[in-house]
Amino acid sequence: MNGLAETILEPQAQPNCEPESPLCFRNVCLRFGPRVLLDRISFSLGKGETRILLGLAGMGKSVLLKLANGLMKPDSGEIFLFGQEITSMREQELLPLRRRTGMVFQESALFDSLTVRDNVAWQLMERKMTEAVIDRRVHQALTFVDLDQAFAQYPPSLSGGMRRRVSIARAIIDKPDLILYDSPTGGLDPVTSHTINELVVKERDVYKTASILVTHRLQDAFTMVTHRFDPEANALVPLPHGTFDPNTRFMVLHESHLLFDGTTEDLLRSQDPFLQELLA
C-alpha cells in the first residue's frame, strides 16, 4: 500500500488519541432523524497543526466543529479534547475545556447588544480581570486583527468582514490552545477574504495554535498552505514554488465519511474521482 492510498481512509481507521493531542475523534457517528450525517469519523489533530476541512455544503463540516468542543453530542464514538473524553461530560465539566478553545462562527455570532470591546473582552470579564488589564488586552487583540478603531462600536454597525475580524479577536484574546474556524471567509469579497486568511495564517505561524478550518473555498485553503506570515513585512509571503506548509493538512468530508485525511501533496496526487472533481 503506497502513501497515497493510506490517506483515502477506511471507515474503521482509528487513530491513537495521544494525551497531548488537542483534538481527536474516534469512530464518531451522528444522525439527524433518518439521515446519517457523520459516519465513523476518526482523526487526530497534532499540537500546532492546522487541518483544513473541505466538503460540499450540508456535509456536516460545521456540525463536526460543534462536536469538537461539545456544543453538540454524537450518537456514538469518542471525542478527546485536550486528552479528555468529552462525549459523556456534563455541560459544567465542558466549560473549562471550552475556555481553552477559540471558535469563530460562520456568521460571527457576536453579542449584538454589547460593544466590540465587551464582545472581545468576554472571557476576561468572566474571569473578573481589572478594567485596565481588559482594555489593554482588548486593544492588543483588536490591533492583531487591525481593527482597533472599532473598540467602542456595536456589531450591527460593522461590515461582515469587520464582524468576522472581531470574532477572530474574541477567539484569540485568551490565547487558546485550539481554534475552530467555521467558514471564516464565507460570503466575503476576495479582498476581505484575503485579510481574514492573513489573520488565520498569522495566528498559525506566530502563535503556533492548533486549528481546524472549515471552508468551501479552495483558493483560501491553498493560500494557507502555500504562504507563511512574515512578521517583519506584516504580510503573507509565498513559500518557495512547489512547497507547502508542513503543519497544514487537509481533510475532506463526503457522503457522511471522512474521505481524505492527508498532506497537500497527497491531496493533489489523489486519483479519487470526487477529490479530482473537487480540485478541478
Partner: protein, 264 residues
C-alpha cells in the same frame, strides 16, 4: 385504520407533551440549582431587576389604581342595596390583597417580560449567540436564566405590594369622590379587614407567579427553533403559557392556603 392512526397521533402528542413537561421541570431545577453554584452574576441580576421591576412600575401602578377604583365602584353600588356601603374598603382591600393584585400584576408583568425574555433569548439562539456563549466557556443558564428568575421573583413581590397599595388608594378615590363615603372610614375598614393570613396568601402568590413567568419566558426562548418565525412563535407561546399557568397556580395556592389557614 383511521382509528389506529388517531390513536397513534394521540400517543405521539402525549409523549411529546410529557417530554416537554420533563424538560421544563429539569430546566426549572437547573435554574434553582445555579443559586448555589459559582459564578453568581449579581450585576446581571440587578440589571434585570431594573428592567423588569422598575420598568414595570407604570403598568402596575395604573392597573392597581384602576382595578381598585372599579372594585369600589361596583361594590359600592351592590353594598348600597343592603345599606352596607361602609364595607367598601373591606371589600376592596380583601379582593386586592388576596387575589387581584398578585394575579393582575403577574399577568401584566407576564405580558411585558415573559415575551421580552422569550424573544431576547430566542434571538440569541437563532443567531448562534447562545452557542458562542457556551463556546466561550460561559453557562447561559447561569448567565442569562438564573439572574432573570431571581430578578423577576423579587420584582413581582415588590410590584404586588405597590399594586396592593395603589388598588386601595384607587378604591378610596372612588369611594370618597364618587360614592361620597367617609375617607377615614374607608381606610379603617380596609385596614381592619386584613388578617395575617391574607397578607401571607397575597405575598406568596407573586413569588410563585414570578418564578413561573421567568422560567416559562426563558424556557421558550432557550428552546426556540425555526429562525425568526420561531422567535415570534416562542414569544406568543411564552405569554399564553405563563398567563394560563399563573391563573391555574393561583387556584392551587388559594386552595392550599385555605387548607393551611382555614377560615375562622
Amino acid at each position: 385504520m383511521p382509528s389506529v392512526l388517531f390513536t397513534e397521533n394521540i400517543d405521539k402528542a402525549v409523549r411529546r407533551w410529557l417530554m416537554t413537561v420533563q424538560d421544563y421541570a429539569i430546566f426549572c431545577a437547573a435554574s434553582l440549582a445555579n443559586l448555589f453554584r459559582t459564578p453568581r452574576y449579581w450585576a446581571d441580576t440587578l440589571i434585570q431587576a431594573d428592567l423588569i421591576g422598575v420598568g414595570s412600575i407604570p403598568i402596575v401602578v395604573l392597573t392597581g389604581f384602576f382595578t381598585g377604583g372599579v372594585l369600589a365602584l361596583q361594590s359600592a353600588a351592590s353594598l348600597a342595596q343592603f345599606g352596607a356601603q361602609t364595607y367598601t374598603g373591606r371589600f376592596v382591600s380583601l379582593s386586592m390583597f388576596r387575589e387581584l393584585a398578585p394575579v393582575l400584576t403577574g399577568l401584566m408583568v407576564s405580558g411585558r417580560n415573559a415575551s421580552g425574555m422569550a424573544s431576547e433569548l430566542g434571538s440569541m439562539v437563532v443567531t448562534e449567540q447562545m452557542d458562542a456563549m457556551r463556546a466561550l466557556g460561559t453557562d447561559p443558564m447561569k448567565k442569562l436564566v438564573t439572574p432573570r428568575v431571581i430578578a423577576t421573583v423579587m420584582a413581582l413581590f415588590l410590584l404586588t405590594i405597590i399594586a396592593d397599595t395603589l388598588g386601595t388608594i384607587g378604591g378610596s378615590v372612588v369611594a370618597v369622590f364618587i360614592s361620597h363615603l367617609n375617607g377615614a372610614q374607608y381606610f379603617s375598614s380596609a385596614y381592619q379587614a386584613l388578617a395575617y393570613t391574607d397578607i401571607v396568601q397575597g405575598l406568596t402568590k407573586p413569588v410563585v407567579f414570578g418564578f413561573i413567568l421567568a422560567t416559562v419566558g426563558c424556557y421558550k426562548g432557550m428552546r426556540t427553533t425555526g429562525g425568526t418565525q420561531g422567535v415570534g412563535r416562542a414569544t406568543t407561546q411564552a405569554v399564553v403559557i405563563a398567563s394560563v399557568l399563573i391563573i391555574f397556580s393561583d387556584f392551587l395556592i388559594s386552595r392550599v392556603m385555605l387548607w393551611i389557614f382555614p377560615p375562622l
